[in-house]
Each structure stands twice: as structure tokens, then as C-alpha cells.
Symmetry: C2
Subunit: 345 residues, 2 copies
């Protein structure tokens, strides 16, 4: 049992979370690990940067005049703030599509002010409020650009999802035939991949130069640049992804996934880091990633200081008094040169 | 590692939860267990029925004409529905107190219709919306009835909390000096107790006849009767506590606690059941309790059929399509006569 995080109330442990961590370099060498670095893990929204690759490679982004902020929004699990909703609608408009084409469904957005305003105005939640509306806008825009049926873009056998499957397999160096897919909360396929391969994929996202295919190299670089240049599009106000990328000023690409997944690409070291909280507890993921960065000496004395609230979350009463804390408590194992097998496509 | 629940996406496990379970009879014999039945656990809101004992024993309930539904609300983690808010206010009014005396703070209530109405009317959340407002109303009413300072009722050394400490220790047969206390989300002391003692306390709650002190016996019986007679006050619409007690028609007393705690008292068998999800994941608690009842043959072919949605939760997409399921997967260990040590006060 690999406890990664203890949740304290007062000075006593109330709950604990197990975690799995993989740190991989661009050549696919497992450098550090904790728990099971090969754990088969639904990557969830951590794959969004890879799911955006076909938006660029198909020419969809150029055809519909995507700005970098649009591309960043395609990689987002956003908070449903006005800037997110209006940009997602703008992408749809430029593609000649309406919000009704999105099959992501909807949910109460993280941005409570946007939700209250909607209630006050007597309006109903629409798909544009979904944290995935940017990703879906990119998908339907791609289907439209390619002259493919738009209504079925979410189905696994649709070219939109097949191109994504190819990109995910290529980026993570994991055989497509080994990728088990489920359905994500937003209705599109999710990919189950070993944690170490998710980390490898982010190492490659952080160092596009490693890729042989010049078109893919160009697309991946454009997506990475967009995310770090417009981090507010990836998350929103007081969101870890946004504050992390801001604090590291372009060095780090970070993206969360549901059920306690987080992935980072370090553009200086060319390393990828992937973690999964075994029970899916999102509250533990940011504390664990912050501790991984600290132990690896990434951002100490600088960016990590700006991220303390995520590294050491405080548990407060409803009146704001401190009642406990969330504490990452693990030590990464240094691995002696383990080469992941690279799949060939 | 004692996995109690697997969370599936499609046919693959996405996340898993560990759990700890204790089944104890009224004599304090540990009958069944899983994981660590002695795990020191913050009982959180599962102690509410015991926290209500002084409301009766001090004469507060009679002085302020408590109906059974009022007493049930004192044991509640309610959804903030109109019937909950108006009854909590009524208790306060009868005690000559206002809502401003409650220190529980507030939060968005589970009843989304009540929240939307509040937003539409441009009002702010108040303490009465807190799921703990009934418990706090009982506490301040008691302080007022006893002529004690009302403002400080939430502090551990206040007579209100000291009487509760005595009741919790007596009900769970755990030495008061061994009970570590933290601060709950609503600002009052929470009690850390071995899981088996929490179960023992619920066995005693289910069979008040076992108690020597006639006043306590009377108070405990009155609280138990109130909870099963007015289960809608303990939770609300589509809440496990409410639907569980309804389905069992008076046989079962059930109460949830934050961070994956659930306790049950079986009034037929005189057994208590307590469980804790190690990571605090509430989504796993109901599935685990449902499976415990099934394995113990409590309610099979009858009440448990009405509770299937809690026993086998379905994970759906935002559009309502099935994407996965939450599955309890464990086998209780039968214990050969282990007598818990009874503390003496």
C-alpha cells in the first residue's frame, strides 16, 4: 500500500490517499517512480493536448483562423467563465456551427458567479458551460472542415476519434491495439494507458524536437506554446493548471484529468511526469504533484513558492477557521535506467 | 490493502477505495470485520444521535415542546430543504433565539432548488441552510435552557460540549480520556473513536434496554424512535439515510458522517455496524453498507431491493448515458467471539 497523502484533522490522520507516480524522460527512460508506475490508467482530460493535435494537423485551426488562445481552450477543462464560453462559441461560429452540435452535455460550472448570473437571468445550463466545450468545439470544427458527418463525431469509429486515437498512441508510444477505451463524462472516448506512457507522452509534448514527423512536430509545438502562453484558457481563476503554468513562465505544461490524474511536461529537462490517485480523489493530486516537483528540484525557491496553497492545502471550517491540512508524505524511488519499450506504428 | 469498492469505467477498473468495517453486538462482541475494525476514526456526523442526547436529558426538548420531527432534525445532515430550514428556525424561535446565534457557518445546500430560489430572490446563504443547522439549534437551545452562555456553546470546555463528550463516551463504551477531538466543518468538536466502538454505540442506540441509567435509556429510545419515524428530517429527498430508514420501516437507524463514514443500528438484531472509507470517499460508503447488509442477510428480498441505486451506483455521462459503475467487492470476515473492553466511568 503506497500512501501518498495524509489528510489531517487537528494532529490526527482522518483519511489517506494512495498514489502512483511515473517520471520519464524524452527517450522513454523511467527515472523516478512511486507506487505502480505502470498502472493502467484512464488518462481522462490529461489527453486533451493530444486530442487537439488533429485540430492543427488537419488544417482546421488555420482554416478557421484559430488564435493560440483558441488552441489552448481546446486543451482545457475550463471553469466556464465568460472568457471561456465566448471563445468556445466563437470557434463554433467560425466553423459555421451552433452550440447544439456539441454532445458534451452540461454541468454546473466551477465559476459560481457565472452560474449565479445564469440563475438570476432565468436561463438554463447549456453545453458551452461544460468544462470540455473547448475540446468539443475543436472536434466538431475538425469534422466540419474535413467534410465528415458532424452529428457522430463522438463515436470511436468516427475519423475524428480515430485520428485522436492515432495521436494518443503515437505521443505515448503505446500500441493502439493495447489501448482500452471507455466513455468520458463528456461522451467521447477515453484512453487507458500505463502511467509511465502518459509521462512519456508529456515528455514528448515538452520536447517536440524528438519527433521524426515534421508535421506532428510542428503541431505539438504549436499546442504546447498555446497552453503556456494562455494558461488562463486551460483552467481559469484559482485553478492549479493555470497557476502552475503561470508560475513556471513557459517551462511547465500541466493538465489535470478526472479521478485524480495529473500530467506535467518539463520543457527544460524534457521530462514527463504522470500521477494517479488510486481512489480518484482530486484533492490529493495537486499536493502530490507539488511534492514531486519539490523532490526533483523543479522550481524550488521560485515558482513553487507561488504554488504553496496547492502544495499544502488547508482544511477549513465553514467559517474559514483552520481545522486540518492535506499533506503529501512519500519519497520517490530513483530508478536505475529502465527503458520503456517503444511501440512501432 | 483492503479494497472494498472498485469503480469501473466500461469493463475496466478506473479507481478503487479501501474500506474498514466493524459489526458489533449490544454486548460489545465483534462479530464481523473487514480491513481494520479498530481504526481510530473521526465519527463526524455519525455521532449526531449521541450529540442529541443532552437535548432530551436536560429537559430542553420538553421545555421547548420538541416534536419527534424536531429531535430527528437535531440528528440530521439535512439537504437544506424548506421543511428543514423552517423547522430549525422554529426550534430557535421556541428557544427565544435567532439564527445569528448559530456558529455552523453555511454552504451551498444539497437541495439545488432551494439554492436556485435563493439566488433568484437575490438573498445570501445563511447558517440555517447548513446541513448541521438542526444539530446546532439543539445545542443553543440546550445552552439557553440551562442558563449557560450561548455565544460559546461550540467550544470543547462549554457544558454543552462536555455533556456531549460524556454521552459519546458512554454510548461507544470508550474512555473519555482516550477520545481525541478535532474541529468539525461546522465548528464544533468531533470525536475520534475506534470503528468497533462506533458500531457498539449504534448497537446500544438500537437497543436502549441494555442501559442501566433509566434517564439515558429513555432519552436514547426517544431519539431512535424520532429518527425512524421522521427519516426525511435526517437527510431529505433522494438521500441514503432517509431512504434506508424508510425502506426498513423502523428496523434500521442509519446515519452518515463526512469523509466516508456510515453507521447503522439494527433494532431487530441489536447489532451496530460502522464503516470508514480510508480515503474519505463518500461515493463508496453507501455501496459498502448495502453490501454489508446483503452479506449479513439484513433486508434481503425486501428493503434492500428498494435501495439498489445506492448498492450499485451507475456512473453516467453528462447526458445520462451509462459510462461505468461503482461495485462493492469484499467479503466480511466472521470473527470468533472477540469481546471489546468496556470502559468504566
Amino acid at each position: 500500500m503506497a500512501v501518498a497523502v495524509n489528510v489531517y484533522r487537528g494532529d490526527a490522520v482522518e483519511s489517506s490517499h494512495q498514489g502512483h507516480i511515473a517520471v520519464v524522460d524524452v527517450k522513454g527512460r523511467l527515472l523516478y517512480a512511486y507506487g505502480d508506475p505502470y498502472r493502467l490508467t484512464f488518462a481522462r482530460s490529461a489527453m486533451k493536448p493530444f486530442q487537439a493535435i488533429p485540430v492543427v494537423e488537419t488544417g482546421t485551426a488555420d482554416r478557421f483562423h484559430f488564435e493560440p488562445a483558441d488552441l489552448s481552450l481546446c486543451c482545457a477543462s475550463h471553469s466556464g467563465e465568460e472568457r471561456h464560453r465566448s471563445r468556445a462559441l466563437s470557434i463554433l461560429n467560425r466553423a459555421g456551427l451552433g452550440e447544439e452540435t456539441l454532445v458534451c452535455g452540461t454541468h454546473v460550472p466551477r465559476d459560481s458567479d457565472s452560474y449565479k448570473q445564469l440563475i438570476r437571468e432565468g436561463r438554463e445550463l447549456t453545453p458551452i458551460y461544460s468544462n470540455c466545450s473547448g475540446k468539443h468545439a475543436g472536434m466538431v470544427a475538425t469534422a466540419s472542415h474535413m467534410g465528415e458527418q458532424v452529428e457522430t463525431y463522438h463515436l470511436l469509429d468516427h475519423p475524428v476519434q480515430q485520428r485522436i486515437m492515432d495521436a494518443v498512441a503515437d505521443m505515448t508510444c503505446y500500441p493502439q491495439e493495447n489501448i482500452y477505451t471507455g466513455v468520458d463524462g463528456c461522451g467521447v472516448p477515453v484512453h487507458r494507458i500505463p502511467l509511465a506512457n502518459m509521462a512519456w507522452g508529456y515528455a514528448r509534448l515538452a520536447s517536440p524536437g524528438c519527433m521524426d514527423n515534421p508535421l506532428r512536430q510542428q503541431a505539438v509545438r504549436r499546442i504546447a506554446e498555446a497552453m503556456v502562453a494562455f494558461p488562463e484558457m486551460v483552467g481559469g481563476n484559482e485553478r492549479y493548471c493555470t497557476d502552475l503554468m503561470r508560475a513556471f513562465k513557459g517551462r511547465i505544461i500541466g493538465k489535470s484529468g478526472a479521478e485524480g490524474v495529473y500530467c506535467i511536461g518539463d520543457r527544460d529537462l524534457g521530462w514527463g511526469i504522470a500521477l494517479k490517485i488510486e481512489d480518484g480523489g482530486a484533492r490529493a493530486a495537486y499536493a502530490v504533484m507539488s511534492e514531486v516537483l519539490r523532490q526533483l528540484g523543479i522550481g524550488n525557491g521560485g515558482p513553487l513558492d507561488d504554488l504553496k496553497p496547492y502544495a499544502n492545502p488547508v482544511i477549513r471550517t465553514m467559517r474559514g477557521e483552520m481545522a486540518g491540512r492535506i499533506q503529501a508524505e512519500f519519497v520517490l524511488d530513483k530508478i536505475e535506467s529502465t527503458q520503456l519499450s517503444r511501440s512501432t506504428h
